[in-house]
């Protein structure tokens, strides 16, 4: 039986994750090409396309970074394909350069850009609001608030992208990406035929003279997009009265529940914006005329609020506009049903029906995320800390290994963004004269660490780069990357050897070791410690989860405590492997968690011994 996303017929109803619904929407639109760089909360979109395989219906790739993904998708859309490119919000910063040009030249086949934003930083370094990009680059923007809308708006985004030949932004947030809901399917047509390529270099090569003209075309196309927003079925009015609420994004879901729970459904006039850029100004203007006051509800930055204020000012409308209040409705984190209920109660000047929580539970032991038992990063970090202690400065990067920040390993002093460990580390060493060690994973190395390495060699920086090569993109769920072994990658993609790449760009001080081998690690580090310039240590060992699940490899033995005492205790404290546990002051190894890495045996050979699993 084929997967319902590919086999499901019209009118079937399935429970789908928001991200799966986006996949179905793209398939219903007839998508030809999908590119991505994985990143939470966007990853299930490309992962689902990858799993489905497509049966020849579409082409799909994991690109090496977001900029490349955007460019490959743009090239495909120039060639007339309907193309989807997916990434998390910060990825769009990486991809911004090609995106702005794509909006100028236009994309004949139709290009949809999925930006998965992460308010509340569930798994990100910031809360940036990518609706700014819709305004900055001039992109029509859709913001679904349910699984059904995720499918339908994706489909609609593709139709608009092809009709206007303008890139369209599908902007989601974590709660939408990771919600599940019932989705009614529409028909699944064949993939769309390519739009035939017409050679128009005076359109597609944006030298200044071309770009100036294209800017005007872009302005005109956004005017056309505004007409779509005026008539869009996703921009919906309901309710009644002189008190108005304007909402976009997932705030619409919280609003619906708040209106129900507060019994306010007939007390306010509501304007919901599913297609949130450009603003349907004519309709909004009419809406504002019918209101004495409006409350704008949107997570993140007050973009819609500013737009409404601007509209009211330009048309001399005597409406009072409220929005962010800095307290419950702030630019920080996520909205919720109760924050909107309290905001609405204040706005309507009535008592808030929200009751305080009955239970208060503080001071409970937490469960912070931690490197897994047997994670090879732990072994490398242990060896580095033993040798360099606090004399070196540790430049970290983005991946599971960022968790090395936690004590007792404390292997992250600063972090800028994907691929920055080597370049920011170079700058730190240059300015401070201190020894700097940069840590980067294999996928992040190929993402943009490689360019930093090229720069370090070119500018003769003084830095030790440790590539934590666990053979996969561990953090986001084991997606393929160029460093993965060929047998797992299969056909159609080519394995790249990290050492050859490092040597190829001119690094001569290169050492490759097995990450579980503390002696070899320490010797290599000691050797590099005596030297200057660019030095690269490649520490290899598959991610334990990946080894177990994908490579189907488990080590035959587990560690156990042979002799209780100071050695065992110190090893547990300094290594902090989650397989250790204490009971009545004695130390034990949980055999179900132990991966068999045997790093503890190397640290304290008398305290631990290996036994059969």
């Amino acid at each position: 039986m084929s997967h319902p996303l590919l086999g499901g017929a019209q009118n079937e109803r399935h429970l789908l994750l928001g991200n799966e619904a986006i996949v179905r929407g793209a398939l219903e639109a007839g998508v030809n090409v999908v590119t991505c760089y994985p990143g939470t909360p966007s990853s299930e979109v490309p992962d689902t396309f990858y799993k489905l395989g497509g049966n020849g219906r579409y082409k799909m790739e994991y690109s090496v970074n977001e900029k490349v993904a955007m460019e490959v998708a743009a090239g495909a859309a120039l060639a007339g394909a309907m193309a989807l490119v997916t990434m998390k919000h910060v990825g769009l910063n990486v991809a911004a350069d090609p995106l702005f040009t794509a909006a100028y030249t236009g994309m004949p086949g139709g290009l949809v850009v999925l930006s998965a934003d992460d308010p509340a930083c569930h798994s990100s370094q910031n809360e940036q609001d990518n609706r700014y990009y819709a305004r900055a680059a001039s992109l029509p923007c859709f913001e679904p608030a349910s699984a059904q809308e995720a499918k339908d708006m994706t489909h609609q985004a593709f139709r608009l992208a092809r009709e206007l030949q303008q890139p369209v932004l599908l902007r989601t947030t974590t709660r939408l990406n990771h919600m599940r809901g019932a989705v009614h399917f529409d028909a699944l047509p064949q993939e769309m035929p390519l739009v035939p390529w017409k050679n128009e270099s005076m359109r597609f090569v944006p030298v200044p003279a071309v770009a100036r003209n294209r800017h005007k075309v872009l302005e005109e196309n956004m005017r056309l997009a505004r007409n779509f927003a005026e008539t869009s079925p996703w921009n919906v009015e309901s309710g009644q009265g002189r008190m108005g609420v304007i909402a976009s994004g997932i705030a619409r879901a919280y609003l619906a529940d708040a209106l129900y729970a507060g019994g306010w459904e007939d007390k306010v006039r509501v304007f919901e914006l599913g297609m949130s850029w450009p603003l349907p100004e004519t309709r909004l203007k009419e809406f504002l005329r019918q209101c004495d006051r409006v409350l704008v509800l949107e997570e993140g930055e007050p973009l819609l609020e500013q737009g409404i204020r601007d509209l009211a000012q330009r048309h001399n409308l005597p409406v009072n506009v409220a929005g962010k209040n800095g307290v419950l409705l702030s630019i920080h984190g996520e909205y919720s049903t109760s924050s909107i209920m309290q905001g609405l109660a204040a706005f309507l000047d009535c008592p808030s029906p929200v009751t305080a929580a009955r239970a208060h539970t503080t001071g409970l032991p937490n469960r912070p995320p931690n490197l897994c038992a047997g994670c090879s990063h732990r072994a490398v970090y242990y060896a580095v800390r033993k040798l360099f202690g606090d004399e070196a400065v540790y430049s970290s990067d983005i991946g599971c290994y960022t968790l090395g920040l936690l004590p007792p390993l404390r292997m992250a002093d600063f972090l800028v963004c994907m691929g920055s460990s080597i370049s920011a580390g170079s700058g730190f060493a240059w300015a401070s004269g201190k020894p700097v060690i940069a840590f980067v994973g294999d996928s992040t190395f190929f993402h943009s660490g490689l360019s930093g390495l090229v720069n370090a060699v070119f500018n003769q920086h003084d830095i030790l780069m440790v590539i934590l090569d666990n053979g996969t993109t561990a953090m986001t769920g084991h997606q393929p990357n160029p460093g993965m072994e060929q047998a797992v990658l299969g056909e159609g993609v080519q394995h790249l050897d990290i050492e050859s790449a490092v040597r190829g760009v001119g690094v001569t001080e290169v050492c490759r070791v097995k990450a579980y081998n503390l002696k070899a690690l320490t010797e290599a580090l000691q050797n590099f410690r005596e030297k200057k310039g660019v030095r690269v240590l490649i520490a290899e060992e598959p991610c334990v989860l990946y080894a177990r699940r994908v490579l189907k490899k488990t080590l035959p033995q587990v560690a156990t405590v042979a002799v209780q005492g100071e050695d065992a205790r110190r090893c547990a404290e300094e290594l902090a492997c989650p397989a250790f546990y204490k009971k009545d002051d004695d130390l034990y190894v949980d055999a179900t968690l132990c991966s068999g890495c045997m790093v503890c045996l190397q640290i304290a050979p008398k305290a631990f011994k290996a036994v059969k699993r």
Partner: protein, 201 residues
């Protein structure tokens, strides 16, 4: 029970325990019964040994996230997480919880203390109208898989009369949506939970 009765369920457990699998199974059961259903979860970094929370909303609620005091039902797959999630439960709500602890690293290393089960139960009862604490992990082991301990709890929930459907619907959903090789184990686990609730009421 009215099929459109609005119910909000807060579910919590430890990463790797199968909390999200249980969430999806229950959501599919509700959908198969013709109910309006929305489920909310968060994937990613929080999963690695961390707390995994999810919600299921029945009967027309739309927001994929709950606030304190909003849940009618709390499903705790681990007792410490039941306690941590307690503020989400509305006064008079119902708790279904595992009583088998999974100690956090800080407790394993002797740096923090795991709260006593009796205290967890006492605090739960101070908020809830009813609470059921079951030895899910050991009941799961009894039928052959620790993971099926979650299904024990789902069975208890469905048999309690708190939802617009019963264990019959859950049994159908297990047969329809779980991989064939684990169907029998999960149905056995489910009935262990059903029996516990029936014995208690």
């Amino acid at each position: 029970m009215d099929k459109q009765k609005r119910i909000r369920i807060y579910m919590t457990g430890v990463g790797g325990q199968g909390t999200l699998t249980a969430t999806t199974l229950l959501a599919r059961t509700a959908l198969d019964e013709g109910l309006d259903v929305v489920a909310g979860e968060v994937h990613g970094m929080a999963q690695r040994g961390g707390v995994v929370e999810s919600v299921i909303l029945l009967g027309g609620w739309k927001a994929p996230k709950l606030d304190f005091g909003e849940a009618d039902i709390l499903l705790g797959f681990e007792p410490l997480e039941t306690l941590r999630g307690l503020p989400y439960l509305r006064s008079g709500g119902i708790i279904f919880s595992s009583e088998d602890a999974m100690e956090p690293l800080s407790v394993c290393l002797g740096q923090a203390q795991y709260p006593a089960l009796a205290g967890i139960k006492e605090k739960s009862q101070a908020v809830a109208g009813k609470s059921f604490f079951l030895p899910c992990r050991s009941l799961g082991q009894e039928v052959g898989s620790v993971q099926s301990g979650n299904t024990v709890l789902l069975g208890a929930l469905c048999a309690s009369g708190a939802l617009p459907f019963t264990e019959t619907a859950l049994e159908k959903a297990i047969q329809k949506h779980l991989p064939a090789k684990i169907v029998e184990t999960n149905i056995k686990a489910m009935y262990l939970g059903v029996a516990k609730v029936k014995a208690a009421s």
